[in-house]
Symmetry: C2
Subunit: 755 residues, 2 copies
Amino acid sequence: MKLVPLLMFVVLAAVTASPSAQAPSANVLAPPKPLEAAKAWDESFRALPQPTNIKNHMQRLSARPHHVGSAYDKNNAEWILAKFKEWGWDAEIERFDVLFPTPKERRLELVEPTKFTAKLEEPTVSVDPTSGQKTEQLPSYNAYSIDGDVTAPLVYVNYGRPEDYDQLDRFGVSVRGAIVIARYGQSWRGIKPKVAGEHGAIGCLIYSDPKDDGYAMGPVFPNGPMRPSDGVQRGSVMDMPVYPGDPLTPGVGATPGAKRLSISEATTLTKIPVLPISYGDAQPLLAALTGLTAPDTWRGALPITYRIGPGPAKVHLKVAFNWDQKPLYDVIARILGSTFPGEWIIRGNHHDAWVNGAADPVSGMSVALEEARALGELRKQGWSPKRTIVYAAWDGEEPALLGSTEWVETHGDDLKQHAVAYINTDGYGRGFLDVSGSHSLERFINGVARDVNDPEANVSVWKRRQAQTIVRGPAEARKDARERADLRIGALGSGSDYSPFLQHAGIASLNISFGNEDEDGIYHSIYDDFYFYTHFLDTDLAYGRALAQTVGTAVIRLADSDVLPFEFTDLSDTVEMYVKELHDLLSHRQDDIRERNRQIQDGVFAAMKDPRAPQAPPKLEAVPPAINFAPLENAATALAESARRYGNALGSARPRLAGNAAALRALNAKLRDGEAQLIDAAGLPNREWYRHLLYAPGFYTGYSVKTVPGVRENIEQSRYADAEREVVRVSRALTRLAALVDLASADLEKLARER
Amino acid sequence: MKLVPLLMFVVLAAVTASPSAQAPSANVLAPPKPLEAAKAWDESFRALPQPTNIKNHMQRLSARPHHVGSAYDKNNAEWILAKFKEWGWDAEIERFDVLFPTPKERRLELVEPTKFTAKLEEPTVSVDPTSGQKTEQLPSYNAYSIDGDVTAPLVYVNYGRPEDYDQLDRFGVSVRGAIVIARYGQSWRGIKPKVAGEHGAIGCLIYSDPKDDGYAMGPVFPNGPMRPSDGVQRGSVMDMPVYPGDPLTPGVGATPGAKRLSISEATTLTKIPVLPISYGDAQPLLAALTGLTAPDTWRGALPITYRIGPGPAKVHLKVAFNWDQKPLYDVIARILGSTFPGEWIIRGNHHDAWVNGAADPVSGMSVALEEARALGELRKQGWSPKRTIVYAAWDGEEPALLGSTEWVETHGDDLKQHAVAYINTDGYGRGFLDVSGSHSLERFINGVARDVNDPEANVSVWKRRQAQTIVRGPAEARKDARERADLRIGALGSGSDYSPFLQHAGIASLNISFGNEDEDGIYHSIYDDFYFYTHFLDTDLAYGRALAQTVGTAVIRLADSDVLPFEFTDLSDTVEMYVKELHDLLSHRQDDIRERNRQIQDGVFAAMKDPRAPQAPPKLEAVPPAINFAPLENAATALAESARRYGNALGSARPRLAGNAAALRALNAKLRDGEAQLIDAAGLPNREWYRHLLYAPGFYTGYSVKTVPGVRENIEQSRYADAEREVVRVSRALTRLAALVDLASADLEKLARER
């Protein structure tokens, strides 16, 4: 099929055009259905998703390796497109061209004190029919590592986080000029070479320790779901906390005409060569280290003494890549809204994988397709959504959220005008509902979760999630789970396609999943395939059905509710919690530094000195000053007040809203703009692509969220004056939102007073 | 040399006789030296101990295996005796005859699903000259296991503590009719077969996991100090929390004429056969288990998936022992006191080992001998201790505190009349001072520790221990270490020869050690020898010197101080802390049970149910009732008041005490009786041998102390009415002590008022 990337833009333009075209349309003039009438349609919807269909989609999509640029990646996009069309959707493929390096050469050897050449190869498993598709599999590598050919002593750096290097400093171990070996986990993989490079290392190996997802956790594949000795986690190491997407087109879509940086200008490639390896390949390297024995928390599950080095193990690492442009095929499908076509509900999942990717991302993609089929079915039953629904199957998520980022960057203006919310899924598993996202949707998604049945327990998925928090959570979470009206949802960092929507474009977003009942160790390996998924994860696709029911219900309610279901008391409550956390963060840092300084001055480190294990004593550090949090506290209080007022105003005005299309449209326009008030065009300090002032991936954690990042990270990194400046900026954003909510309340109050 | 066990008794009788003989003696009538004059002698003492001597003693004593009944055990006793005599001490060997089983047959096989025969053999290490003394080494075994020949499925029970079986219940795994395999650690080894037997197991294997003292902790011997693959921890599994000492003579000395139980009547032998094994032997057994994967905290460091079973691994275990009587040779040496010969300061360390035992016990024994030499030297310089000093080298500590227990049981009446305090050491290492014992001696030993220099840091051992607590302790301990006048000493459970003195006879006791700077994995193996100790532990014996200085100083000060240095505010402060702990223990149990009941009733466990990993929900449990702690609180308050009064009274009377032998003797007699007030002749619930109401080894922890055991263990075991009864008993003991202290205070106040 010939790709028509501009077609989608046309479709979008058509939708874009509709708001102004709305007034004269019959659809728009027709009286809206009474509030809550949507209920029946989402109930009908929940009867439609079928596990068998999800399974069939999974088998089809994961039948062959389908990474960016592969034949089957394109084939899948075309198949998805055809399916959407078959189910009655307007659908198109939108193409972008991006930098996507693939391995040309990978070599890793122990050259001293003994010789060993790493295998760098995941073997075929006979019972697993797709594990032998060698010619189509991407070899194990870390995408966006630079080319490199280095030989140096090895140093073990635990998880390779900043705090691990602080510990190495105390031990008197430097990684300058060394190759580091870090284990996967605890931080996003791209952080490991970034921090290693900052400390002067010249190469970085990342291995999967059996303690984290190998035999220590359970039997290994094919006897169980854990990572076998030669299994390797592929993955991107691009510096995505700076910006995701095509490294050559930061902030703009990678369309044919876009201005592109040269590769040498791209700031998100690693600074040192990186290679991921299996624990089978890592063991001889780690066993050849001497020096200090690694502390307890640094020890993995290999049958060796974990020692830090440097050396005598010396390692030769060579990696070289094809630095090619590759095509991305985003599939974009839509159902035009009947009443508010200019208000878009967007829902996405990526379709590209590192190899066969049955769990990641095909499990989620197959669910999204089943929703699409069911929504098509619902239309045949007479349903016509009031708002426009856009379903997206993103390409290139694995390397760098490429497909979603380029699409958001390309369609920024349209999204600003039309997007109501973005709902994302990705791979999922068996177990407990897991939602993160915009807290203005917390109440909404709690309502959805109360109406979906858990396939294993005879309760709602909400109830089961509550039980999980009560049984496994700390005391405070348990109290919340029992006493708060809504279960708390998490905040979004990064790791899937919601990032550009929420953090760049300021669109209210949710990421929805199930999981946490099974462990596995096949992430980003050739063993993440249909055989594996149907033997060890959601084997009967029952949670796939629950996920389709959850997300489909959310989509229908967002599309059909007369008043958009944004709610602000849960948000303001969450903001107040963040402000308290920031207070505590600062005061704990003050206490810790004060205590450590006292210990240094009292000579206790000198008295503790062990001549056989010399450690440098910590250094005196200035105690952090007090920070003026008052602007943030005042803004949070104001937002809480506005949120309560809005709730009351909406309650009073509700009877008058029914059938009042103009009032609804005006109200919804304000509600839709809420999230954008939390965006600042100047972006976060040192990473302007990220513009959301409440949620961002951590600069030094990668996937993990840092809430109120400008304030929090400046405190963590001892830039207290900068933190205080950020307090003001965040306060202004909260105040903007409070003002907007007040405007909506004023309109509603006026409406309620009218006779 | 012919042994004359009764001779010691004669010596003791002579000493015993002296109190009544004191009055007319010139020594006693001579005016005592002014208070604090002892200072100079202990200062002189501290210059005397020499590392070279300690090293020479160690080399001699650990040159060959010297367990109970071995030729070299007797040879060592005779050599120690000769040394004491050479240094001017009155010394004798006292013999007892006790039940001490040694292996006749040991066999362990995996019989299903594959075959494997355990090696049960620690190999010779070529660089280690004594590791090859095969003909004299005791094979690896657990003493006081019963004979047995069993074949059954295997179950992995983690550390084999009661809470591990609670977890197994939740998993639906029973050990009834099974052989369990537990890892060493977390509880004393004798607890493991005891609890296994209580749950219906028919055999018990105990292995050393490499996570706990093998390669995970550091390089293994001979490349480092950790346990090699075939290293085995021997050790006793007698039910010593019921009573230690000869199983056939509970409560009485195992003298020739003593009435002995038959072996079948002895209650402290295990109920099931037990065998300790290496991790080399354990790995094939553990690897053959299937069933549930062990939870995170149950996993060791072997390169396998830890699974629980039962089976399919089936194991054949056969052990048979020679149930012989063996002779014990306690060496008892003394210097008769010049002023108060009827007041004894006793100091002991055992000399028997499981094999060569350079660390355990020879390091401590060598230090004790160096003290004895130095005290002899001091006498040549003119020193004559006011009180009688008794140094003891115990035999048979390893199997069951045999030598000390039989001696204390034999000489109970004498000890009651004469013993002031008992100071114990055992193996020691490099690092930090570690003292546990009677809190009436807490202030005293703090004073000693302030006067001994640490060999590594240029500070006192007190200061270094304070630094350790500040750097490594929790916040509360840090605060105490900074603000309290005295560093807290621990409470004594069991594990060395202080037990009979403190917990059976009610003699104030201290156990003193250094350590915590090195890890090792040779405990109770053939590798605990001179080569090992001088390569990996206190290689230059510098801490041996510090230990000799510490204990010697304590002995001299106890022997020479006019007023015995007991002090009661630290004790009452400690008791108040215990009472708070008991309060907290009860209220946490109430909270936990109330919370769990609520969860059960709210159906959260039902909602959490995972069909692939079924766990039985916990059962409803009655919430513990409130307990009347008031008697204990009142008694603790009264003791605190008495303690303060005594401090004041002593301060006022001090000038009048100097030279007043009668007043001193009357005061000291009361002080010496203090600890005995905390004894109750009826003993602890279900284990009458243990009579101390504040300190006992835990019935289900073994070595670890349970303070206020009658109350604490009854609460832990849900016998709340019994706990309340024990509250009363403990209160009475504290009240007795307070009354005694008040009597002393009244005398002193009267003395101070005299003109």
